[in-house]
């Protein structure tokens, strides 16, 4: 059964200190051409029946994301992302 993937990201205007810390560590790896890193969260949902994107959107809006500070997107997992 295909999964529903929910991606949650801090809104662009919200400071992401975690992303900044990662960006600041990159020069230690010898990486000097990265100007910004932002960190979000990917959530995979499996329904017991057919995947329900509307239901997933409701779950994302009420629980998985805080719309005050985060944006989210909901989609079906690509074929290669789904378990065999």
């Amino acid at each position: 059964m295909p999964r529903v993937v929910v991606d949650v990201m801090l809104k662009p205007e919200i400071l992401d200190p975690q992303g900044q810390a990662v960006a600041n560590a990159l020069p230690r790896l010898g990486v000097t051409d990265v100007s910004s890193v932002r960190i979000g969260r990917r959530i995979e949902i499996e329904f017991s029946g057919q995947p329900d994107l509307d239901r997933a959107r409701e779950i994302a809006d009420k629980l998985l994301a805080n719309p005050v500070i985060e944006d989210y997107s909901v989609r079906l997992a690509d074929a290669e992302e789904s378990p065999a």
Partner: protein
């Protein structure tokens, strides 16, 4: 009759016992409330204590918001039930949309644990009416995700309507916008505060007795409130 103040325990609450102790020191009866029990057992006010409810999984307060007891508290808060959310409790109140904005990761990423000066800016709430306007108090702060954020319009509205209850002074411990340490709802019955007044109610264990005012304020408020 002694006022009865409920203190909620969620899985992962840490400061429920200190909050109950502060309630008793202020002269009220502390009533333990359980996250999984929707009944408020007739309490006159509720404290949501600090800690890491449900392990802070997903986001701080995000899962606690859906606890059975929170549905009753949210409905009561809209009808005027006084609610004080401290630290994790403040995060829960924001997640439950009983207060605007959100608490996010400290700007410097460090968990900040120290005694902190605040300025009480709104003494019109159920939880701050025994303070003087502009009074500076010293109470502990301890959080990793205490940076208050909201959009500019919300921040302007909070300022214009006197709903910023307390601001950090002599240093902002987490990068909170406009140095906000605590806010209230429009009616003044719901207050969220990041630092911990319940840890500053006895000379033996706190940096001051400055936190007691939150708990004496609710008693004063309840005495004056219509039954």
């Amino acid at each position: 009759m002694t006022a009865r103040i409920g203190v909620v325990t969620f899985p992962g609450s840490l400061d429920d016992r200190d909050a109950a102790r502060a309630v008793r020191i202020a002269g009220a009866e502390a009533v333990s409330l359980w996250h999984d029990d929707p009944s408020l057992h007739g309490v006159d006010a509720v404290v949501l204590p600090g800690g890491f409810s449900y392990g802070d999984y997903l986001r701080c307060g995000a899962i606690a918001r859906f606890a059975p007891v929170m549905e009753t508290i949210a409905a009561g808060a809209r009808d005027g039930l006084p609610v004080l959310g401290i630290c994790n409790g403040f995060q829960i109140l924001c997640e439950a949309h009983l207060l605007p904005g959100a608490l996010t990761r400290n700007a410097h990423l460090h968990f900040r644990n120290r005694d902190q000066w605040l300025r009480i800016e709104s003494v019109g709430t159920a939880w701050t009416n025994t303070y003087q306007p502009g009074q500076e108090i010293l109470i502990p702060v301890k959080n990793g995700e205490g940076r208050y954020v909201a959009d500019q319009r919300t921040l302007d509205e909070l300022e214009a309507t006197g709903r910023i209850v307390a601001r950090y002074v002599h240093g902002n411990p987490n990068g909170s916008q406009r140095d906000i340490a605590g806010i209230t709802n429009e009616a003044g019955n719901v207050v969220g505060l990041m630092p911990h007044p319940e840890h500053a109610v006895e000379a033996l264990t706190g940096p001051s007795l400055d936190g007691l005012g939150f708990f004496t304020s609710i008693l004063k408020h309840l005495v004056g409130a219509p039954v």
